[in-house]
Symmetry: C2
Subunit: 210 residues, 2 copies
Amino acid sequence: MILDSNDISAMTTRNRAALINSLSGYKSANLIGTTNSRGETNLAIMSSVVHLGSHPPLLALIIRPGDDERHTLSNLLETGYYTINHVSEGLISAAHQTAARYQQYESEFEATGLSEEWKNDFKAPFVTEARVKLGMRFREHQVLEINGTNLIIGEVELIEAPEDSFREDGSLDLTVADTVALSGLDSYHKPTTLKRMAYAKPDLPPRELD
Amino acid sequence: MILDSNDISAMTTRNRAALINSLSGYKSANLIGTTNSRGETNLAIMSSVVHLGSHPPLLALIIRPGDDERHTLSNLLETGYYTINHVSEGLISAAHQTAARYQQYESEFEATGLSEEWKNDFKAPFVTEARVKLGMRFREHQVLEINGTNLIIGEVELIEAPEDSFREDGSLDLTVADTVALSGLDSYHKPTTLKRMAYAKPDLPPRELD
């Protein structure tokens, strides 16, 4: 089935959002933890954390204007810190529920039954129940003129992950860490590993690792 | 296991790249198709396509400086068009091989055995063998000062996906489309659906769809 720009424009807002959100492929599922200077905490599920570079270790985060940016954006700009916590299988329902429109004085931690974990004077709450937790220092904020979306860039200052998920080459095995993937607006997936590929070279055919 | 900034800095370049590339969670796996004015085509695997907005339908793409930006970036800036093709299970080896350092006059299509598909005067080649194919019009290019990474924003002008992967709500079922997910630098995964969650509301507990 083929859709062109006219077909896409003609869709209802809701159906178009469901479709366009499916197009990028599988997405990361992360809980972003923040606090403000009054100590009110916030936790928000986001599907747009992406790798930006390894040295320095940088991740980018897209925060949509409107509802999504409430609290998370103002908090991280205020304190300069935030946490990224992988959603694992047991956390899906609570993680998804953080997207509900709670008031600023209501913490999504309390509302969803997840627990705040404070580490090393780090100025943002981690999710105790998460298996992979990243402490992030805010580095840069840009508002993309094309649609008012916020691009947040942060540097990884702390990494916590289960001992047995670290491979010898330094990478994390996300299937061992029990991390889930998102697709579209509402689908949560458990990935299994098909293969690992060796570094590609023009004069060699594709080879699997191991 | 916990690593701080000093631990991260102390890692070898290769191990740090493997680790930091694992941190964002699961990533999209897409082949980016382009051509230049001499008709030389290029195909490159990228793991950083992210949703930016639905109206207009916008996707962002991070292109690392150096090797990754060769050909893909110059081509799409020259023609104003590119394609995004989901990597499906049968395409993993060929898709991964496009990351090899081929010369500009060598097309990754030919080198990897994938076929070019030209549609509706669209000025970039699609991958015939892909099941989900997007025709993209280039809208914006920013070089992120923090590490020289390129942020490319494009508008979706054409969507092709298998008839049976479209759900009634407009979304695509990526498990039906056979799309795979990436993690780290080299791991390819097949996701299965755990659950779909209903729209979250503060006064209702989390509910599964269906």
